[in-house]
């Protein structure tokens, strides 16, 4: 049964809301400014609850399904984080309240800044960016501002490996930089020769994802950093994959000048069907003055908002996705340093274990010890089954499909990130499903072409959706 639209459920005159009655004299409404009506739906509270409850039941989610979406770190979202983020005294506060009435929130932000600095080896952190891509834009803007401050305004080129996530080039372009794509070598590393050739005094820096989107640790990371630094460029780290490095290595130590964190990934805040996330940026000493402000500083026992002296400015209103901060802070406190290292170790253990089980059926793109995720070719040679069919068929086995067709440099990429919170049993079951699907591809490919079979809707016509876009209810 498909769920009707809110507009279809609507009945003229029906209401759900309750409000206090007007307890002051009414003022005349401003003539000429008032709209005729607000054509919103009209449903009862029960209709509303039923509608959204039923809709929710159409989703796969971590709370009910293994969700090994590569690059997204879909680990278990602890419920204590949600409880933390609903503590009234922490959340029912206005961002513009006087600082003296906001000391608890400021202290929490301060502690989170400090923890992130320690975890990733940076000298400064700003919590403002709202997501990873926003952190990238912020970082690249800081790189530009830094070069400008050095009188090197000509540095407008940014080097980005071909394995990079799409946000890297997109963020760079938004900041007015020209993207130069770097090839990867056979082991999945940045091609050092190409890097050296590209490095000159027009280079603002290099954006490196490490571990990269193949799930591989950059084997020449120190050399890459040195090379970029040597030409006067800065090293940007895409921290989306930090889950592999907690307590294992600190990007700041390795030579990165700026990095965004994806709190929603590494520090396990719920992804909310697409967001909110949070993308704080950490920076090395020389970039600290450029951080977007305000950040929180401690003065004696008091906490204060502070705008760094050469700040690039705000990147959003207020302080960032504070509700996500509470969750991430709670998570960090629950794990401590040993726990964080265990997170990385088991994320990497799970990925390598699953890789060992899956690779006999779907060949790995680059055969190396992987970090927190790995990429296989998801097609089935000798059949017409592509990765999309395999992905869709996994749904029938009760699994959310892994990321597919990314990274772009691997054909039929299936990018699998199990995360540390999944059990061996789940990985075994998932691997068996993939093996069974590889077999089905050969014996009964129609099963895959028509997959999924068990969902409320079957495969959807995306071409139709794009050709003749219906983007709001037209009923």
């Amino acid at each position: 049964m498909s769920e009707p639209s809110l507009f279809e459920l609507s009945t003229p005159g029906r209401t759900a809301f309750t409000l206090p009655s007007l307890d002051v004299p009414a003022a005349p409404l401003p003539e000429g400014y008032v709209r005729a009506d607000v054509p919103l739906p009209e449903v009862s509270e029960l209709e509303l609850v039923r509608h959204f409850t039923r809709l929710s039941q159409l989703n796969y989610c971590i709370d009910a399904n293994f969700y090994p979406l590569g690059s997204c770190t879909m680990k278990y979202n602890p419920k204590v984080n949600e409880r933390a983020a609903s503590i009234e005294g922490l959340t029912q506060v206005h961002p513009l309240q006087p600082e003296e009435t906001l000391q608890g929130s400021l202290e929490l932000m301060y502690r989170l800044q400090e923890a992130l600095k320690e975890i990733a080896g940076f000298a400064g952190v700003s919590l403002q960016p709202a997501a990873g891509a926003h952190g990238e834009l912020t970082g690249v803007l800081m790189m530009r501002a830094y070069h400008r401050s050095q009188g090197e305004n000509q540095r407008r080129k940014i080097l980005i490996p071909d394995s990079a996530h799409g946000t890297n080039p997109a963020s760079s372009a938004m900041a007015g930089l020209t993207v130069v794509q770097l090839p990867s070598d056979k082991r999945g590393n940045v091609d050092l020769t190409a890097l050296k050739q590209a490095c000159d005094d027009t280079v603002a820096g290099l954006m490196l994802t490490n571990p990269n989107t193949l799930g591989l640790f950059e084997e020449h990371v120190l050399e890459v950093c040195e090379t970029v630094h040597a030409c006067g460029g800065l090293m940007y780290g895409d921290g989306a994959n930090l889950n592999a490095l907690l307590g294992i290595a600190r990007p700041g130590d390795l030579g990165f000048d700026v990095m965004h964190f994806n709190l929603h990934k590494t520090f396990s805040t719920p992804h909310g069907g697409g967001g909110p996330g949070s993308g704080p940026v950490g920076v090395s000493e020389r970039l600290v003055p450029f951080l977007p402000g305000p950040i929180v500083v401690k003065e004696g026992e008091r906490f204060r908002l502070h705008v760094p002296e050469r700040s690039i400015g705000r990147v959003r209103a207020f302080f960032g996705n504070y509700g996500v901060f509470i969750r991430a802070y709670t998570y960090i406190r629950m794990l401590g340093s040993e726990g964080l290292r265990a997170v990385a170790e088991h994320a990497v253990l799970n990925a390598n274990y699953l890789k060992a089980l899956v690779s006999p059926h779907f060949p790995v793109a680059v055969e190396r010890t992987c970090m927190h995720e790995f990429v296989v070719h998801g097609d089935v040679p000798g059949t017409d089954v592509r990765v999309l069919e395999v992905a869709k068929r996994l749904i029938d086995y009760g699994f959310h499909p892994p990321t597919n067709y990314f990274p772009l440099i691997v054909h039929d990429a299936l990018m699998i990130e199990p995360t540390e919170t999944e059990s061996k049993q789940t990985l075994d079951t998932f691997a068996r499903a993939l093996a069974a699907i590889a077999e089905e591809a050969r014996t009964n490919p129609a099963l895959l072409h028509e997959a999924p079979h068990s969902t409320p809707v079957s495969r959807l016509d995306e071409v139709k959706a794009a050709r003749n876009p219906v983007l709001c209810y037209k009923g």
Binding site: S5, L19, A27, V34, D37, V38, S56, L58, Y60, C61, A64, L69, K75, L90, T91, V93, H94, P95, T101, L102, S105, E107, A130, A131, A133, H134, A145, N153, P169, S172, I248, A249, L254, P270, H271, G273, G274, G275, V315, R316, A317, F318, F319, T330, R333, M334, G336, S337, E338, L349, Y353, I395, P452, S458, R459, L460, A466, V470, L471, Y473
Partner: protein
């Protein structure tokens, strides 16, 4: 270790399958000198301990429940109906991600489609995206989109000084002075009104951005404005804050806006110390392929059933990379869901009702303040629920006085607008009872004694 299920036996078995002797051996690629740093963090806490710790922090705040609050200025204290938390906290909504796999994401997709539909109706526009980070970034992206629509042939972004100061700051961060893409102007003279801006529109202008109601609370005179903007080939961008005003006031779509952005927090999300909030973004159909952000579209499945998918993805970074209309990836989906639930709960009658409560209560407060010796209401144009008051002392001094009486006073305008020294922006919502307003009046009177 919390959240990590592995037993020692399983770890051993898994390492054996991998063919490695230890967990450490997994990390040989990491430069040895930097491997396994000792992190200096407080010892791990149990659930009980962290909740205690956070409650201690919470007590160092003064939460809005302890005040009569008259502070708005971009973040608004409205009632969040109980259904919102109940529904939005369901694991199926909260612990899923971007609906790339529509067959197992119809819940999120249909909810976002309905969100888009309600936002278009609220703003009077034709298409809305599935969310931006917040109102400020949505405005910055609107400027970028206007540049994009002009295909690089227009570089002037004209902005009103009565746009939220932080929004203008964000725009300038996105488009720094040495940007090759554009330059931002219009708010150098902080007293400039719409008519002062109109004369600056030219063939260079990609867009004019105004806020309405403006940051000072006033309803702008927008009659004929769009025509003048369009006559020069530019776009009209409207920041529709506070969004609740659209329950009562003419939507920007009606007066010709090309892009409408807004802060969606008032629609079902608590103040949360500033975030996560919701960037609302809507435009006209002709521009839909130049929009930033995710879009959900309706389509059919193989059995002919209606269903929903992410669509027009060639605009996006994961397809177009540096040529994308925006870099946005993770957005504010769960907050958009909250807004969808809120809008459906309030519905046609309820949104109007809450907007009217705000309007009448604010006007009651203004009328009462007008009668106070020493205070002047300096908002002369019609307003919605925020208005300016000139005070007989510095606003910070007054606010400290009010704070001691359990009142969170208004926003100090002098910081952003030096000519508005000693002016306070007062905000009244449906959360303010008459008793609270009367308490404010009494306190203001006392403050001048």
């Amino acid at each position: 270790m919390p959240y990590i299920p592995h037993t020692e036996a399983e770890r051993r078995a898994m390492l054996e399958t991998i063919g490695l002797p230890s967990l450490e051996a997994l990390f040989e690629d990491v430069p040895a000198q930097w491997r396994f740093p000792q992190l200096n963090l407080p010892p791990a806490a149990s659930e009980m301990e962290i909740l205690d710790e956070l409650n201690v922090l919470a007590r160092k705040n003064r939460a809005v429940g302890q005040f009569a609050i008259f502070l708005g200025a971009g973040a608004y204290h409205h009632f969040v109906p109980s259904v919102v938390d109940h529904l939005a906290s369901r694991g199926e909504f909260a612990t899923s991600y971007t609906p790339y796999q529509p067959e197992v994401s119809q819940g999120t997709l249909q909810a976002m489609f309905e969100y888009q539909s309600m936002i278009t109706r609220l703003t009077g526009m034709e298409v809305a995206n599935a969310s931006h980070y917040d109102g400020a970034t949505a405005m910055a992206e609107a400027a970028l989109m206007a540049l994009n629509v002009a295909r690089g042939r227009r570089k002037k972004i004209l902005i009103s000084p009565t746009i939220h100061p932080q929004y203008r700051q964000v725009l300038r961060t996105y488009l720094p002075p040495d940007s090759d893409l554009a330059y931002v102007t219009g708010d150098e003279v902080l007293t400039a009104g719409i008519s002062d801006l109109v004369v600056q529109i030219d063939q260079e202008t990609a867009c004019l951005i105004i806020q309405n109601p403006n940051f000072l609370g006033e309803l702008e005179d927008v009659d004929g404005l769009a025509e003048k903007v369009h006559a020069q080939g530019a776009l009209l961008v409207v920041v529709s804050n506070p969004i609740i005003s659209l329950g009562l006031l003419k939507p920007p779509g009606e007066y010709g806006a090309d892009i409408v952005v807004a802060e969606g927090q008032p629609l079902g999300t608590a103040l949360n110390c500033g975030g996560p909030y919701l960037g609302i973004f809507a435009t006209r159909e002709e521009y839909m392929r130049r929009m930033p952000g995710r879009l959900v579209g309706e389509t059919t499945d193989r059995r002919g059933q209606r269903g929903y998918v992410l669509t027009l993805t060639p605009r996006e970074q994961h397809i177009r990379r540096e040529k994308a209309t925006s870099n946005i990836c993770t957005n504010q989906s769960l907050i958009a869901l909250r807004a969808a639930i809120y809008l459906a709960y309030m519905g046609k009658q309820g949104l109007r009702a809450v907007a009217e409560l705000c309007y009448h209560k604010a006007h009651y407060a203004a009328r009462e303040i007008t009668q106070l010796p020493g205070f002047t209401v300096t908002t002369f144009r019609p307003f919605f629920n925020e208005f300016r008051v000139r005070c007989p002392m510095s606003v910070s001094q007054l606010n400290r006085f009010l704070l001691d009486r359990g009142i969170l006073g208004g926003y100090d305008l002098g910081g952003d607008y030096p000519h508005l020294e000693q002016e306070m922006l007062i905000c009244v919502t449906e959360m303010n009872t008459r008793e609270q307003i009367d308490r404010l009046i009494v306190a203001l009177r006392e403050a001048t004694r």
